[in-house]
Amino acid sequence: MLIEHPLLGPCDAQEFVYKGDACLIDRPDGMAEGAEAAFYEHVYPRDNPAGLHRELWFHEQGDRSWLVVTRNTRTHEIVKVELARDFARARGRGR
């Protein structure tokens, strides 16, 4: 698989480490009310769709950036690649 890195162009997926569903970006606040239940939801259940899936890939053997890749789990076709930083900011994260 080739991942179209937003900064580096096409890279072999082998240079990356797969880190799972991009929902992991939305880490709950450990100090908030109901944190235990929120962390259960964060850590264990997954949508695991047969179709488009947004997922984290870490460019460990490259520029060490984190990407959010939108990929079809039925065909392995990649339809979108973003920097995880941009993705998180668009969801209202400050850093």
């Binding site: 997926a13 259960y40 264990y44 997954r46 949508d47 695991n48 047969a50 997922e55 990929r71 789990t73």
Partner: protein, 416 residues
């Protein structure tokens, strides 16, 4: 029709005209007491034991394709009960005991071959961990034996014992482990279930659940609505997909695992061997092919095919352990979709919806579990109580922090 030596002889002398299809192809009825979704090993075994051991009737197995087309016919056929943890070992030992009597029980030749499995170790720390696991197995009534390098060498003289990085320092053997002809398991259970009146409905895909007031009334299928007293779902890699139709989100990801088989060779490998320093395991089929595999591809996938980097990784592991492998040509390879749970252990439990039960999260080790999984799921469906060996396989263990994490890697389904 019962199978026997006499029967084979008689058919041989009369031109094999007397063999008949071994299960019916019935039309779906409007309603059953038990509807099992998924005609893999686990679904068929569940139906078989429901009918045979728990004396239930009006049972159907719904399969979207043909039975045995899923992982039950795609795995590398290894059976064993060499687990470490309390929640797992009694269950897998129960399964191995059922394998030992299975062919007599369902009167079908599944080629159960207890040729032994040998987990090789390559460092002192790994030896200590394997000794601990062997002791845990023995405490649970299974068999385990520590082999010295000399003993390993006697059985497998061609392995790379003095490899500079991963010398073979011995192995943990389970002599009762081995291999089974995988699709014969599906056929044997299907035939046994059919003979006890179970309807096996192929080309019958479940497309939804009919749920009213928190109760599951039946399933929508490509062959129309089928009402059910109880619905048991055992769809392996499609677990999340199917249970999402009932509004449930599971602690499971689907990943693809590949398997490989070489051209047929004369007998070289007497048992099953596993490499302890990389992910590679190998056995030789009765047709002579070397059957081997390794890691999952590592990212969510519902495609029943893998990619090249994992092939390279598996073959590298194979060459490090077993250099002669390089002389054999690869004949075929394929992939199956695995239901990787967050702690690497399965779930056999009811759901929050009355009448809807779930069996899944088998990762890449569910073939060996087939008989016990079927038995325990049938027990749960028939009695509404978990079987004694499956009490730990509950949905709520993740919420309670009571994970059964053999590998100790945490909530990383692609590492189990």
């Amino acid at each position: 029709m019962r199978y026997s030596g006499f029967r084979v002889l008689k058919e041989a002398l009369t031109g094999h005209k007397g063999w008949q299809p071994v299960w019916r192809d019935p039309e779906p009825q409007a309603e059953y007491d038990f509807v099992i979704v998924g005609g893999g090993g686990h679904g068929l075994a569940t139906a078989y034991y429901l009918a045979k051991e728990f004396r239930q009737s009006r049972i159907a197995v719904l399969e979207k394709g043909w039975i045995g087309g899923g992982n039950v016919g795609r795995n590398t056929t290894i059976i064993r009960s060499n687990y470490l943890l309390e929640g797992n070992q009694p269950f897998y030992e129960f399964s191995l005991k059922l394998w030992e009597g299975l062919e007599q029980d369902f009167n079908y030749n599944a080629m159960v071959s207890q040729r032994g499995i040998l987990n090789l170790f390559h460092s002192d720390a790994q030896r200590d961990a394997y000794i601990r696991r062997g002791n845990a197995m023995i405490l649970h009534g299974a068999d385990a034996e520590l082999l010295s390098p000399a003993q390993v060498r006697r059985a497998y003289p061609f392995l790379d014992f003095d490899n500079a990085r991963f010398p073979i320092k011995g192995g943990l053997a389970q002599r009762r482990g081995g291999t089974v002809r995988h699709d014969a398991v599906a056929w044997g259970y299907a035939r046994g279930a059919d003979r006890r009146g179970v309807d096996i409905l192929q080309n019958c895909e479940v497309t939804g659940f009919r749920i009213a007031q928190g109760r599951c009334l039946g399933v929508e299928t490509s062959r129309g609505f089928i009402g059910a007293g109880k619905v048991g779902v055992a769809v392996a890699g499609y677990s999340s997909h199917v249970m999402a139709m009932a509004g449930l989100r599971l602690p499971i990801e689907s990943h693809v695992l590949q398997a490989f088989v070489s051209e047929g060779l004369k007998p070289v490998l007497p048992g099953v061997i596993t490499f302890g320093a990389g992910h590679f395991y190998c056995s030789q089929s009765d047709k002579g092919g070397l059957v081997f595999g390794g890691d999952i591809d590592g990212y969510n996938s519902y495609a029943q095919r893998g990619n090249l980097p994992v092939i390279e990784d598996v073959v590298e592991g194979g060459m490090a352990l077993f250099p002669g492998l390089g002389r054999a040509r690869l004949l075929r390879m394929w992939g199956g979709v695995m239901d990787m749970s967050m702690d690497g252990s399965p779930i056999i439990d009811r759901t929050d919806i009355d009448g809807l039960y779930f069996n899944g999260g088998w990762c890449y080790g569910g073939f060996k579990a087939t008989p016990a999984s079927g038995w325990c799921f049938a027990h749960l469906l028939a009695t509404d109580a978990p079987h004694a060996t499956a009490v730990a396989y509950r949905f709520d263990r993740f919420r309670r922090g009571a994970m059964i994490d053999e590998k100790g890697v945490g909530a990383q389904p692609n590492l189990h």
